[in-house]
């Protein structure tokens, strides 16, 4: 189809890896970036993507999504998730292992990769489990997982409760150069909790989860990373205390990286008023000061990357009492819009800094290809319009699920073309 390559013409090329931010053309051929420069002539037979007035960047990379295959294909599959990702501007996502069966062996890793290959949309990098069955008892075979294609290990969904197991995982993971990603939650403090412990939980009569439940594990993981020299990656940070701990740890040279989700820099626990189950997630939405701290953390680099923690759930599952509803929201198709609206337009990040957090740095910290438009880099490119205003209508999403608190919200910024491996994976039909 694209035998003669793709020319992405006339866009504002923003590539933080090379410090580039200027109007230029990008020429892709044979699955690689061939050249980036001004007024590259159109090679014969090349497909032209008109990027005038838009931003051209290395494809976005989401380090933390939940694709429900194998096991709950009615909620999402690798294919539908990969399509949703492409529609959101992502050329790659990392899939968490809490599937059914759990991704704790090469069979499941291979299956997920094969499904992604077959779909031919965004790349999907499996993340393997830390422990067999994510039971928190016995270490999974990291070597086998990495050999089959896993890029990291995590028991996300759940914390690694045993400090001994976490230590061992961090040490063992060094052999393969992969990070251990932890869902930071102290279970005896969070048990039974359904939202942030604060004024709103008191008003609503719901059991709360104190910020300390996250911070205790953040502190522990930092200390273990320091002890072992391993790389710990802290999932979906939500509290100002966590941000403070990470900042100090980085200043001391500890190998810790951290991620934050759009809902944690956009919403607060007030969103739970009226018992809206689309505001129920883990970790929960926190206070105004926490939201501010997350934004600050993204600005000064304490928080390295933005991820979605895309968590599809069935409408029926969310249509119940707050206590009983499952945690999580989808996010692949709103992430870029929320980031531009809440962070770029408010001056917290420049476009270049945003691309760094959503593409360049994710690639670097997980050792993934992409995140750059240097010559020879994979042809993973996103073209997006940072100024287009649109309304979130989940019924139009490619994801199989609809659980989002942002229905009806007006956002700025949306992907128009996503190219993966030199093929157009997504192109938005112009209204």
């Amino acid at each position: 189809m694209n035998g003669q390559g793709i020319l992405v013409r006339g866009g504002r090329v923003v590539d933080p890896s090379r410090g580039q931010d200027e109007v230029a053309d990008v020429y892709l051929i044979e699955g690689r970036v061939e050249a980036v420069g001004r007024n590259i002539g159109t090679p014969d037979g090349a497909m032209v993507v008109d990027a005038r007035g838009q931003v051209v960047a290395p494809g976005l990379i989401d380090l933390h999504v939940h694709l429900r295959e194998p096991g709950q294909e009615e909620l999402e599959t690798v294919a539908s998730g990969a399509m949703a990702a492409a529609a959101g501007g992502f050329s790659a996502v990392c899939a968490m292992p809490n599937t059914d069966p759990v991704c704790d062996n090469q069979g499941v890793v291979g299956f997920v990769k094969a499904q992604a290959q077959r779909a031919g949309k965004a790349r999907v990098y499996p993340i393997g489990a830390v422990s067999l069955g994510q039971q928190g008892q016995q270490l999974a075979e990291f070597g086998e997982l990495v050999g089959a294609g896993a890029v990291a290990v995590s028991d996300d969904g759940k914390p690694v409760v045993s400090s001994h197991l976490m230590r061992t995982a961090l040490e063992y993971a060094r052999t393969f150069g992969i990070p251990v990603a932890d869902h930071c939650e102290e279970p005896t403090l969070s048990a039974g909790g359904v939202m942030h412990e604060g004024t709103v939980s008191t008003r609503l009569g719901l059991k709360g989860i104190p910020a300390a439940a996250e911070e205790i594990m953040v502190a522990r993981d930092i200390l273990l990373a320091e002890l072992t020299g391993g790389h710990v990656h802290l999932c979906h940070m939500s509290t100002r205390g966590s941000v403070g701990l990470i900042r100090r740890a980085k200043a001391h040279g500890v190998r810790v990286t951290a991620e934050a989700c759009p809902h944690h820099f956009t919403l607060t626990h007030e969103a739970c008023a009226g018992y809206d189950t689309n505001a129920k997630m883990s970790p929960p939405l926190r206070e105004e000061a926490d939201r501010e701290a997350i934004r600050q953390g993204l600005q000064d680099g304490t928080i390295d990357v933005i991820v979605t923690d895309h968590a599809p759930h069935h409408y029926d599952a969310k249509e119940r009492e707050f206590d009983d509803a499952p945690n999580g929201i989808i996010g692949l198709e709103t992430s870029l819009g929320l980031a531009i609206t809440e962070l770029v337009r408010s001056g917290v990040l420049t476009i270049s800094e945003l691309i760094a957090r959503m593409s360049t740095i994710p690639a670097r910290i997980f050792g993934l290809p992409g995140g750059t438009l240097a010559a020879g880099a994979p042809a993973d490119v996103v073209v997006f319009d940072p100024g287009v205003e649109w309304t979130v209508r989940p019924e139009t999403f490619y994801s199989r699920s609809r659980n989002t608190p942002f229905t009806g919200r007006r956002l700025f910024g949306r992907a128009t073309t996503t190219i993966v491996r030199g093929q157009v994976a997504y192109q938005r039909a112009m209204d």
Partner: protein, 320 residues
């Protein structure tokens, strides 16, 4: 014009002071109905009311049942199983089934906070919250206020101390909302493990010890120590709770004035309250029960009003 109520009564947080006063004022004539030989008026004749109780409760259910029957309504009691996740129908399906049977009103008690609101948003019938999780128990709050108003003649400026497991108590929350809206001062007293960390943001005074509450208050509302709700470890033992926080005659004798003693029931005698206090001269626990029926009749009467669309009626108020 009178401050009309919305379709559902889900909590006192959502009512204005005028609306609360309307309910309390309307409860007065209903007290009289319960004193008659024939304890029945035809006001809700032909209305169908379902008492949908997902949690066992004898006293609240019976109180509502009497209120409904004394208004000549037809009542059905449904004792449903626990949460949506456990066996049985989901709350959504239950709601749809009730609507299909053309029920006029539902009185719901459920273990999940927000359940009454959840139901009210999905069915056209009036929904009355008889206790949802730890959120609110509005009719209990109302009857507590009516009882205090009877005793003191007013609520404005009254000092009421709520003593006990405030953290898990929907009765406490409803009392806090209702009393503060009507100008009373509310205090909360209990071990820190049983008080919400930011309870002061609701406009209440924190009284660290029961002795402080007794010195400060005009009335004590003593909460049941909720054994069934308490996850282990909030207090070391019942014995210690009684010794440190129990409302005893010995402590009350040191009060600067005669305190009115209230309790939503059922009581754990010898734990949060001693028998001689519960049965003593200053206890209004039994009047609370009497007022409970009247308040519930008032709520049912006010909510069952004709729909605004059918008010060709608006001017017909004085029709003879």
């Amino acid at each position: 014009m009178v401050a009309a109520l919305a379709k559902d009564l889900t909590g006192l947080e959502y009512l204005s002071a005028e609306q609360i006063e309307l309910i309390l004022d309307t409860a007065e004539p209903f007290k009289e109905v319960s004193e008659r030989q024939i304890k029945k008026v035809p006001a809700l004749r032909g209305k169908t009311i379902v008492n949908l109780f997902f949690e066992a409760s004898t006293r609240t259910r019976i109180s509502f049942e009497f209120a409904e029957k004394r208004l000549s309504a037809d009542t059905v009691n449904v004792a449903a199983s626990g949460s949506s996740v456990s066996k049985g129908e989901t709350l959504v399906d239950t709601a749809r089934n009730l609507e299909a049977m053309r029920i006029d009103m539902v009185v719901i008690r459920h273990g999940a906070s927000g359940a009454a609101q959840f139901l009210g948003q999905r069915i056209r019938s009036n929904v009355i919250n008889a206790g949802d999780g730890k959120h609110e128990h509005p009719t209990q709050g109302l009857l507590d206020m009516l009882t205090l108003r009877d005793r003191f003649g007013r609520l404005d400026g009254l000092k009421v101390a709520i003593c006990g497991d405030v953290l898990h108590s929907r009765v406490a929350r409803s009392n806090i909302w209702g009393l503060t809206k009507l100008g009373a001062q509310v205090g909360v007293c209990g071990p820190p493990t049983l008080l919400p960390r930011n309870v002061h943001e609701l406009g209440v005074t924190v009284l660290p010890r029961i002795e402080d509450a007794i010195q400060w208050a005009d009335a004590l509302n003593v909460l049941r120590l909720q054994l069934e709700r308490m996850e282990a470890g909030f207090i070391p033992s019942l014995r210690e709770y009684n010794r440190v926080f129990g409302v005893t005659n010995e402590r009350l004798n040191r009060a600067p004035k005669d305190l009115v003693i209230m309790h939503p029931g059922p009581m754990n005698r010898g734990v949060e309250i001693d028998s001689d206090v519960a049965d003593g001269a200053h206890s209004v626990i039994l009047p609370q029960v009497t007022n409970g029926v009247a308040v519930r009749m008032a709520v049912l009467y006010l909510l069952a009003g004709g729909r605004p669309e059918s008010a060709q009626a608006a001017g017909k108020g004085e029709e003879r």
